[in-house]
Amino acid sequence: MWIFEVLGFGQKGWGGLLIVAALMTLCVTTVALIIGAILGTMVAAAKLSGNKFLRTLGNIYTTVFRGVPELLIIYLIYFGGSGAVTAIGRYLGYEGFLGLPSFAAGALAVGIISGAYQAEVYRGAFLAIPKGELEAAEAIGMHRGLRFRRIIAPQVLRFAIPGIGNVWQLSLKDSALVSVTGLADLMRTSQVAAGSTRQYLLFFVVGGCLYLVLTALSDRLFTGAERRANRSMPSSFSQA
């Protein structure tokens, strides 16, 4: 059976490489989610702030990075980042082209996009906190930092879990586009395997199935987390 041979873990098999590639996809997406969480929190804070300039800046960020094709943003970060690195290299006396590592460029690009979506998620979650609970925290003498840490952050996180789950699924699929920078993720490895064995159908189906496994598993994970986080809610709410 040739299928087992090309998909197996033997010398001619691509099985092992595909598994490693799937882990690489998970890795890029995870780093992107973290970058996006940091950017998203900052952008959400800017959009919620009283300062008009910051608010406009936040709005521009979310409009641009949710409205422009992901591929274009990856090009911007990869080529633009490499240009910047090359310029720094030249300044330090190194002649020639320096590329931004494709993992860093990919994670950063997907993270920037993810940050735009996460900002909307966090903003919505903040607005969902009953105003009275924030007042009660003020009334008891909590200062800003404590209020954020004890009352706002845990509740934002709770309300944000379904949204973060959606953003994660989005980023998981966006990460496939990072393959254009040559990163050996699941997409790229399926492509290379398909090209070198001429078994296009087989490898794109197998690659697609591995993506389905990743999205289905993470869906489970987030549903479980949501249920856990909503245990403080009336039962009608958690069932909805």
Partner: protein, 232 residues
């Protein structure tokens, strides 16, 4: 800033806009038809039909569009019956492959959105329609369809904007739309930022126009939700 370069870049990119628009409109059109079919199957009583629709939605929403597009572009030719059929000269075209995979993908997403709209149709309004003797296609066309579409519209407009962005992937199967041309310009000139700004501006204008159009449609379709007009 080098305005001559920006102007030249903009001109080159604008020449690719018709291709982006063609990909967009064709895939939205065929994807919409496909979504109607799938949502009809998804709510069918027959469990085989229903589960097929469920599987379809799971597969096309759960995997990246790029791998679907490559599967169509590189994989279809491996089927002998496709390769030797009368469709092959047609399916060999990158443009057709791109539209096909875009439509297949958005069909899955749109079906879920339409299903959400369907669930928002109040059962009592369907009952009322049945009570005056409506059934079948008439019931769908006159009562269920309009109400469901009105409810699905906000989510659908988000999906449409996603589709504008998705047309960019066609460049990876050699269809020269805006993002593909932008990438070529970047690798020729190394002026990433300028090219990005021009291309981003084009997409943002397209999104803006589309969102305006859907907002207008939404406004027209929600006359019943606004306050009653005052009599003079």
């Amino acid at each position: 800033m080098d305005f001559a370069f920006l102007f030249q870049t903009m001109k080159t990119l604008l020449a690719a806009v018709p291709m982006t628009l063609a990909l967009f409109f064709l895939s939205i059109f065929f994807g919409g038809l496909l979504a109607l079919l799938i949502v009809w199957m998804r709510v069918a009583k027959n469990p085989v039909v229903r589960n097929f629709a469920k599987g379809y939605i799971f597969v096309f929403r759960g995997s990246p569009l790029l791998i679907q597009m490559f599967l169509v572009f590189y994989g279809l030719g491996q089927f002998g019956f496709i390769r030797y059929s009368f469709l092959w000269p047609f399916l060999r075209e990158p443009f057709v492959c791109a539209v096909l995979s875009l439509a297949l993908c958005t069909g899955g997403y749109t079906a879920e959105i339409f299903r959400g709209g369907l669930r928002a149709v109040p059962a009592r309004e369907i009952e009322a329609a049945r009570s005056i003797g409506m059934s079948g296609f008439l019931l769908v066309r006159r009562i269920i369809g309009p109400i469901a579409f009105r409810h699905a519209l906000p989510a659908y407009s988000t999906e449409i904007v996603m589709m504008v962005k998705s047309t960019a992937l066609a460049s990876l199967v050699t269809v020269w739309e805006v993002t593909g041309v932008a990438q070529r310009l970047i690798s020729q000139t190394y002026r990433t930022m300028e090219v990005f700004l021009c291309a981003a501006a084009i997409y943002l204008v397209l999104n803006f126009l589309i969102l305006q159009a859907t907002a207008l449609l939404e406004h027209r379709l929600s006359r019943h939700r606004r306050a009653a007009p005052r009599l003079p």
